[in-house]
Symmetry: C2
Amino acid sequence: MSRTVSVELGERRYGITIAPGLLDQLGRRLVELTGARRAIVITDSNVSELYGSRALAALSEAGLDRLELCFAAGETHKTLATVSKLLDGVLRHSPAIDRKTVIVALGGGVVGDVAGFVAAVALRGLRVVQVPTSLLACVDSSVGGKTGVDHAAGKNLIGAFHQPRAVLIDVDTLRTLPAAELRNGLPECVKHAVIRDASLLDFIRDHAVDLLAGEDGRLTFDAEVMSELISRNVAIKAAVVAGDEHEVGVRSHLNFGHTIGHAVEATIGYDKLRHGEAVALGMIAANDIAVRRDLLSADAAEAVRSVLGALDLPVRIDGLDLPAIRETMLHDKKADAGRLRFILADSLGHVDIYDDVTDAEITTAVKAISC
Amino acid sequence: MSRTVSVELGERRYGITIAPGLLDQLGRRLVELTGARRAIVITDSNVSELYGSRALAALSEAGLDRLELCFAAGETHKTLATVSKLLDGVLRHSPAIDRKTVIVALGGGVVGDVAGFVAAVALRGLRVVQVPTSLLACVDSSVGGKTGVDHAAGKNLIGAFHQPRAVLIDVDTLRTLPAAELRNGLPECVKHAVIRDASLLDFIRDHAVDLLAGEDGRLTFDAEVMSELISRNVAIKAAVVAGDEHEVGVRSHLNFGHTIGHAVEATIGYDKLRHGEAVALGMIAANDIAVRRDLLSADAAEAVRSVLGALDLPVRIDGLDLPAIRETMLHDKKADAGRLRFILADSLGHVDIYDDVTDAEITTAVKAISC
């Protein structure tokens, strides 16, 4: 079964299609969606090895002129230097590319961000189709048009808003993910549940074991369950993005768990803690603040903590450096002219923006996630 | 007297203010326009020496925290490498910049394009105020939101659409331009006349001598005449941009004279021919095609050629390599899936888009501008 979710952005409206086996239909889908005759697949070394030749074969089958550009896998390569090399590949392509050329971002979050940014700035904007192959990319980064790279001064400090023309999610490509990488995407699903849909939390809890099960190095999840999980999540993300494309209002709800989470991630070290783990800790910290304010019931906070625990995600961590975390939070780009904005839940499925969270509350919240 | 022209782009509407002495009011204007408390001036080595300290003093006077970032002057530095270095300066600024920081692009076309692109991608978009100091930048590149840099494969191949929050034009800053550089901006004025307003052609012809007069290395133009010239031109550019921000339709009218002009510039060498000179030749070539098609009267074409001659601009050139020009035109990014689009005039003040111009017509037109 194929599922489709729309991102309603007027002229820039696009669809997210979720189905098993989509990768082998890539060429036909691309032609239908864009009318393109040429495609440039941007991917990383890991994904290229797994799915590069299948993607290229699917493009050739549909009669597309195609090229693959590959960069070394890993967040350390999410830099302007990588973008510069990829642009060399795109712009030196002969015969010269034109504005109808489509970029295909095939891979996880790093690939989507990097390839999306290359598409945003090549000829002042080429069309991009996102083909995410990690759960985090499927439910979060491939939808919404945020693209960009890291800088020595911080993550995602260089980039552009550039909406894709379509998102194509082949759930079968998730089967080759390490379980730890699949787990890395689940906190964003929990986040969506907390900010918009309490029943999604039940769904995640009910299917936690099945989602992460595997044998012989392949995940054995039920394709229908995975498709349902992804479609419910992208529907939430799509609705939030459609309501506030450039993050001047409700889109910041998606930062639930990220204010303290980002700071924890930055101070512990990006190589030592996965983004999803940091967000899990950040959500627990945010709920601690909300419970102490009598905004949120202790039972609701416990329900979130218990699902995260069931997913084998950290709910406490060793070695947090409070002064460093507070310093990092102040430097975070989401600090709006010196004010820190927190997203706090008042019930499961509903959040609001608060800019009056005190140092004392942050201190207590960080203690709540410290061993 | 101060003149103001609006660029009507809905939420992204902005004003262009033209007056003598504006540079010394930069800080106050910036605060009024943006509410900013911090500004980063991006400029080049030439302009920094002439106007850098006055700009910084004006920002300080208004209580703004400010910083200057300077790069080596010249089109050869309009590269992604320069952007990368400037981003280092912006992002390593301490205390960390936030989204309310404003970039001030102080300089000619290269500075406006580079600084505008830095603003477009730093934190996925900072506000930019354009303060153009060359005639070409005043009447053309500072208005309309096209930003970007060159690549080995061609000019302006990397960039973004990023509208400024305001354009502030201090006509007095044009007095330090070499006459040849002022002359470089006048073909774009002639272009605006041909595509939208025949009476502007008369204005340019009537004031040609005065505009270019100078003594002791300073241009002596009448500030009112220069302000009127600039405001009439930006009014035309603003109206075209407001009608088609992303160049899917009428904005391509601004490419009048540029189809052959770009190719002439690229084949002769950017160091040997100024952009304005190439556009002058391109307009004569385009009019040659229009006259031979009986679209345009020979008298109208002669009126354009005669104004360009009066401005001491080339109307013929030695050493044109026809096969190279045709090859370059095919590689031009404006080639839309292999088709070349020409803007041709059918009367002074009115143009249309043609995609049926033949090789034979191009050959004849190139001969018309060859010595």
